[in-house]
């Protein structure tokens, strides 16, 4: 009994480790250090072996002509030179920017509306919320396959309905029409990715104290004023984190394009991850060229990554 009282007493931090506990703490500190490194060693091994080393070797690869399993031959900046003079690469840059900006933008707006709607009170609201979040839980490959079938030229759902309603004479090639392909891919990205924004924003909305709205109401603020003066500023930090995270992952996601269009028709949906994949693993196996494509995009991603790292650590109080 006496022991537990002593232990739960909040000692001022400056006094910790002084007095009778001094030498014991000293011993533990030494112990701590060894144990700390020992505990962290496996995690460190993973980071170095599976992220840092591959990343460093990707940089080396970009200066090489290399195929898998064989040592590379140093060719200086040739890979980069070829890349920057290729029209395909320039188109890929534009496509990736459009794909990411439009995808993230619409996901953001839809996610915010969904969160606002789900934040209202209504019958069975929890059930609706669970249901609306399911697209996020489904493996992205399964969603992509399902949508490929929905977009199918001959018997897909969309053409099926449009023909039934007599809106079209001939079926529309959603995924192989050069003007529609990017649009169709983005639709799938939005379907799958909106719940992530909904979840983040809904959590943010629920953390806003109700008193703020009550006070605003007493002061005669309209619903719109409450939204712009309370809701938006309070959600702002979440907006930034969610958008950045989603931008990194949307731009880098490969499976939607790979499964739906494989970059076609005539490179209209070619984004950088898919181009890297084709160069490195399709036919010619030019690993150096593929790595160069990814690396050219890395500086843009790294700005986001560094910013997010800071933010996420600050939230954890590191």
């Amino acid at each position: 009994m006496a022991t537990s009282t002593t232990v739960s007493l909040p000692l001022p931090s400056s006094r910790r480790g002084l007095g009778w506990r001094g030498d014991k703490v000293q011993r533990f500190l030494l112990h701590d250090r060894t144990l700390g490194y020992l505990f962290l060693f496996p995690a460190l091994l993973v980071i170095v072996g599976l992220v840092a080393y591959p990343f460093a070797s990707a940089i080396v690869m970009t200066f090489q002509a290399k195929t898998a399993g064989a040592p590379g031959r140093f060719i200086g900046l040739d890979n980069y030179r070829e890349l920057f003079s290729s029209e395909q690469f320039l188109r890929t840059v534009v496509n990736t920017a459009v794909y990411t900006a439009v995808g993230v933008g619409i996901k953001f707006l839809l996610g915010l509306s969904m969160a606002l709607v789900l934040n209202q009170e209504r019958f069975c609201n929890n059930l609706f919320r669970s249901f609306l979040l399911i697209p996020w839980a489904i493996p992205t490959v399964m969603s992509a396959l399902n949508w490929r079938w929905i977009f199918d030229d001959a018997s897909g759902l969309i053409n099926n309905i449009l023909v039934r309603l007599n809106l079209i004479e001939e079926s529309i090639s959603w995924l192989s029409n050069p003007h529609l392909a990017m649009f169709s891919v983005i639709v799938v990205v939005i379907w799958q990715g909106t719940p992530f924004f909904t979840m983040s924003f809904l959590a943010g909305l629920q953390a806003i104290p109700k008193e703020l709205y009550e006070a605003a109401e007493i002061d005669g603020a309209s619903v719109l004023q409450q939204f712009t003066n309370i809701t938006l500023p309070r959600l702002h930090p979440i907006f930034v984190t969610a958008v950045m995270l989603s931008a990194i992952l949307t731009s880098a996601a490969i499976q939607f394009v790979l499964i739906l269009t494989n970059g076609g028709p005539s490179d209209r949906t070619m984004i950088f991850s898919v181009l890297a994949y084709h160069l490195a693993l399709g036919g010619a196996q030019r690993l150096g060229m593929g790595a160069a494509v990814s690396l050219v995009f890395f500086p843009i991603l790294v700005v986001f990554i560094v910013f997010l790292t800071r933010r996420m650590l600050r939230e954890k109080g590191e």
Binding site: F39, M61, I138, S155, S200, L301
Partner: protein, 281 residues
């Protein structure tokens, strides 16, 4: 004025209900089409007799999947890889997170930073050098290779998430345990871990579903049937001559079920973990 407020509120509620109905339809229709297709005969899937609602529902497509494709093998592989990478990353992450949260040693903050940073680097930047590395190590076409490769994502994420939870366990409890004769390891196992149960659930959920859903590494590292997981297996069905939407949708439904059920089961914790950790969206 109070009256104006009520009218505004009521209008908003109505608008909200309308938007909700649209959102529910937008979310539900693709699911419906997936399930409906899996229950149809080919005659109702293709051509002029194609239907929107299955007229004579059948489980024939499911039977075809099990009888004529290596789907069961893919399923087994997915389970092995998901369980293997989850268990390994849990052990590594618990130790690492405990070290960062509780132990005092130089380089601690730097390591925490490194963890978040590596977690945010997308795999599509790493798959080419990883493929080269795996080829050299002869770990392509192997489930071991995939388990190891997935640690590169799981360990940083799990460590980082657990770190926060471990910090919220009162130090005093652990000190009491130490006074009672526990050493660091048993204090971790007996005091910190039981108190972090919600975090452990979230972390298990994420590493399991990550391995289950992962496509790029599995696709790039594997070229034989024996080592395919569900995701690459299904995509591979598509590239074969047997291009059949009925069985393909049947296997899609079955493969999507485990992560969806897990999500519904652990939803409350998962959403919390997600907002804490910012999970890949």
């Amino acid at each position: 004025m109070a009256l104006r407020m009520t009218t505004q509120r009521r209008a908003l509620q109505g608008l909200g209900n309308g938007v909700l109905v649209l959102m529910l339809l937008w979310t539900a229709i693709p699911f419906y089409w997936m399930i409906a297709t899996s229950l149809k005969h080919d005659k109702e899937i293709y051509g002029y007799e194609a239907t929107l609602i299955p007229q004579r529902p059948t489980l024939a497509n499911y039977a075809t999947v099990f009888r004529e494709t290596p789907y069961l093998l893919y399923l087994r592989n997915s389970v092995v890889v998901a369980v293997g990478s989850t268990v390994l990353s849990m052990v590594i992450a618990c130790l690492g997170a405990y070290a960062i949260a509780r132990l005092n040693f130089p380089g601690r903050a730097l390591l925490a930073r490194g963890l978040v940073f590596t977690y945010l680097v997308p795999t599509s930047l790493l798959f080419i050098p990883m493929f080269a590395m795996m080829s050299v190590l002869r770990l392509t076409d192997s489930l071991h290779g995939l388990i190891i490769a997935y640690l590169g994502f799981d360990v940083p994420f799990c460590t980082w998430l657990l770190m926060g939870y471990f910090k919220s366990v009162p130090v005093e409890l652990e000190e009491a345990a130490r006074v009672d004769g526990c050493n660091r390891v048993s204090a971790l196992v007996r005091v910190v871990l039981p108190m972090s149960l919600p975090a452990l659930v979230v972390v298990t959920f994420f590493s399991f579903t990550h391995a289950w859903n992962e496509f790029l590494y599995a696709h790039v590292f594997t070229s034989t049937t024996g080592a395919r997981t569900v995701t690459t297996g299904l995509v591979n069905f598509m590239s074969q001559d047997v291009f059949f939407w009925g069985p393909l949708m049947a296997s899609t439904v079955m493969s999507a079920l485990p992560p969806v059920l897990m999500f519904l089961l652990f939803q409350r914790w998962v959403v919390k973990g997600l907002t804490l950790g910012g999970v890949k969206g």
